[in-house]
């Protein structure tokens, strides 16, 4: 996917002014976020589950080569074919090759964020292969020519009116159709496609290494239809989606589903091991697993960013994040949004281009608190900020702003010595008095105008250190 991470600031400003979208985003707090909290509280040993899952994740990522090999071996043992793709282009090429070999004309797709990294739908369209998203939200996004707004609820930003418009344009439903009528029309359309399709493409929530089993979590059953109805099934996954054993699945499913939607279990949990075996009635003739790197080894190689690979893509940090709830998903400019996206999207694309993302956080830690596998997101945001100012990603575009650097150097000189602080305080008090109006600093010149646009600024006063002396007498 083409990255527009550079435009974060302007995109965010536009979303903040959009009252319709703001009301949808606001609902994430009382909706999914509170549902997650209630379910976590209602689950015995929630924190034990989290700690266990975190330990499994760290262990798996630290030994990823071993588990990837185990997973590939077991998928092949079950009759599947495995392809390791170094990047999105290689992954797409493989999918197109398999499609060509099988004479594929129509593809049904389960929800997959990695296929967004690959822009797979466009790639298929270029080869005149029709790809249809089968998750209802993704389907709407596809019809509207957009990209997902949220990992779990891709069309969260769309109003009912917009949905009615999109479906009316594409399926001919009346513009005043009820929600049931709209869902029914989409269902009818998708059912036909499920029957016609020559190939199913899905993502992967997990891949169990010891058995080579793909695990998909859905609420619409579209994942199961995509994996079982067409003759060929290709599952695409980021290389971090491995869990070692089937026993681990129980822990991750409990955490993932509760954290994503606040459900105890989703309507469907689908597990697929290889293609249809000779004694089985359902399933594809061919099963392919595409394991994609696409920049993930960069994260793996950096001990400070490795933890980002622990993410199970539940979206809880997006719902919990007060910044995401203001700027929405598209502002982030690439596939992954919200707090985890502010780490993953820059690293998988280009960190200097995406420099605004790690800074787009008040470091409140709501993401860390919400994360089912306890990923310390603020720590990684801070790390990226330092990498950016040090110019470690691109020495030629070093500092984000010379003015800022000078300001921090100057500040560093003042605060290293209490004598300088006294002098600065005294000068500041002198300097501020012409700006004080009715005892307040309401409008300051730039860069502090960015502060006084929304708040008054406190006045410098005789500092505590000078008052302390008089206290001691």
């Amino acid at each position: 996917m083409t990255s527009t991470t550079k435009n974060f600031k302007s995109a965010a400003k536009t979303v903040i002014k959009d009252t319709e979208v703001q009301s949808h985003l606001k609902g994430l707090y009382s909706g999914f976020n509170m549902a997650r909290i209630h379910e976590a509280e209602a689950t015995p040993n929630w924190e034990d589950l989290q700690n266990r899952a975190q330990a499994i994740k760290f262990h798996t990522i630290e030994n990823l080569d071993y588990y990837l090999d185990m997973a590939a071996t077991n998928v092949e043992k079950a009759g599947g074919q495995v392809y390791f793709a170094k990047d999105a282009a290689a992954a797409s090429e493989y999918v197109l090759k398999v499609a060509k070999e099988n004479g594929v004309r129509t593809v049904i797709k389960g929800k997959s964020m990695i296929s967004e990294e690959m822009e797979l739908n466009q790639q298929l369209a270029e080869k005149e292969i029709e790809a249809i998203e089968t998750d209802l939200g993704e389907y709407l996004i596809q019809l509207a020519g957009q990209t997902p707004y949220h990992i779990i609820v891709p069309a969260i930003h769309m109003s009912r009116g917009e949905v009615a418009e999109i479906l009316s344009d594409n399926l001919g439903t009346p513009k005043d159709a009820t929600i049931e009528e709209m869902a029914g029309a989409a269902r009818d359309e998708l059912r036909d496609k499920f029957v016609q399709a020559d190939m199913g493409i899905t993502g992967a929530n997990f891949l169990v290494a010891e058995t080579g089993t793909l695990t998909l979590v859905t609420n619409e059953g579209n994942g199961r239809m995509s994996t079982s109805m067409p003759k060929t099934h290709i599952a695409i996954m980021g290389m971090e989606k491995i869990v070692p054993s089937m026993e681990d699945m129980g822990i991750f499913l409990r955490l993932l589903i509760r954290s994503a939607t606040g459900q105890r279990i989703s309507s469907y949990v689908t597990q697929v091991t290889g293609p249809r075996a000779s004694e089985e009635e359902d399933g594809p003739d061919e099963f392919h697993l595409v394991i994609v790197d696409n920049g993930r080894t960069k994260m793996l190689a950096d001990p400070n960013l490795r933890e980002a690979l622990n993410c199970i893509r539940c979206g809880a940090c997006l719902n919990a994040c007060p910044v995401y709830r203001k700027v929405g998903g598209h502002s982030y400019g690439w596939v992954y949004s919200g707090p985890i996206g502010a780490i993953v999207s820059p690293v998988l694309t280009n960190v200097p281009d995406a420099k605004d993302l790690p800074y787009a956080s008040s470091l409140c830690g709501a993401c860390k608190e919400a994360c089912p596998v306890k990923i310390n997101i603020p720590r990684m945001l801070l790390y990226l900020r330092n990498e950016l100012t040090e110019g470690n990603y691109d020495p030629t575009r070093k500092k984000s702003s010379i003015g800022e650097l000078v300001a921090f150097k100057g500040w560093g000189l003042i605060v290293k010595d209490p004598v300088f602080m006294r002098i600065a305080n005294w000068l500041g008090r002198l300097g501020q008095w012409p700006l004080v109006r009715a005892g307040q600093l309401r409008n300051l010149p730039p860069p502090l105008s960015a502060w006084t646009r929304y708040r008054t600024f406190p006045r410098l006063v005789k500092p505590f250190r000078d008052r302390w002396k008089s206290n001691e007498q």
């Binding site: 600031k9 965010a12 400003k13 903040i16 707090y29 007060p322 910044v323 203001k326 700027v327 800074y359 787009a360 956080s361 008040s362 470091l363 409140c364 830690g365 709501a366 860390k368 608190e369 801070l382 900020r385 330092n386 950016l388 100012t389 040090e390 800022e404 650097l405 921090f408 150097k409 500040w411 560093g412 605060v415 290293k416 010595d417 209490p418 602080m421 305080n425 307040q440 309401r442 860069p447 502090l448 960015a450 502060w451 006084t452 646009r453 929304y454 708040r455 008054t456 600024f457 406190p458 006045r459 410098l460 006063v461 005789k462 500092p463 505590f464 250190r465 008052r467 302390w468 206290n471």
Partner: protein, 249 residues
């Protein structure tokens, strides 16, 4: 709760309190003295380094962190009226010196001796029968400072201290645990986002119908009070230290 009640603590007043809100520092000292604890103030103290650290200027933050580690090396109890500054020392110095084993040892040594004020009062001193009363008849709502809650894990301390004051019950606002949008330089780097977050906080404060907002960090209060004042909302922002100082006999 520790077995020994300290009779002397060292105050790290924080640069924001020193420069803008000295009355918070004075209230901190006053409470501790009323509870029979001696307070020492190291005159050379300045800043923990967090503003630079959070903005990505770790090189600029390190000398300040080292200065802090030197100044407070021998102090068994270091009290700060800020969850954020306490987090800087207890949590983030570890990141700052991750490649410096020698300093990291000093960080690990000093961390457990650093207390945010409400933690110190509730967990170390264990004040549950404050000789206090709600003299001014305030109607208080409590804003949870982010670092206090999520870096230090102190969720109950401040609320229980407020609730021990006879006649003072917290009127909980909606989303009390949600960030006010301050975030240090975030507030000026992204004024629109920060301003929108602040607006939610202001709306929730108004809806609570409280006349006073209490928090344990002067930076959150600076941001919230600045927003309330800008919009001429007649709600007062006070630090927990001021609230308790006013209430304790």
């Amino acid at each position: 709760m520790s077995n020994v009640t300290p009779d002397r603590v060292s105050l790290f007043v924080t640069c924001v309190v020193d420069q803008f809100y000295p009355e918070v520092g004075e209230s901190t000292v006053a409470i501790l003295r009323k509870l029979g604890i001696d307070v020492e103030f190291i005159q050379s103290q300045t800043c923990c380094g967090q503003p630079a650290f959070n903005t990505g200027y770790w090189k600029e933050a390190r000398p300040l962190a080292l200065k802090f580690l030197d100044e407070y090396r021998e102090k068994p109890y270091i009290v700060m009226p800020s969850g954020s500054c306490a987090s800087m020392v207890k949590v983030f110095y570890e990141e700052l010196f991750q490649n410096d084993a020698e300093t990291l040892r000093r960080v690990h040594d000093i961390g457990p001796k650093v207390y945010e004020l409400s933690e110190f009062l509730a967990d170390v001193i264990g004040v549950n029968n404050l000789p206090a009363s709600n003299k001014s008849g305030r109607k208080v709502t409590y804003h949870e400072a982010c670092h206090l809650r999520r870096e230090l894990g102190a969720v109950t301390q401040a609320r229980s201290l407020i609730n021990t004051v006879p006649g003072m019950d917290i009127v909980e606002m909606e989303q009390a645990e949600v960030c006010c949008g301050f975030g240090g330089t975030f507030a000026v780097k992204y004024p629109e986002i920060s301003g929108a977050m602040l607006q939610d906080k202001i709306d929730n404060i108004r809806d609570s119908e409280a006349d006073t907002v209490v928090a344990c960090d002067s930076t959150c209060l600076m941001h919230i009070a600045g927003g309330l004042e800008k919009q001429n909302v007649p709600v007062e922002c006070v630090h927990l230290a001021q609230l308790l100082d006013e209430a304790i006999e």
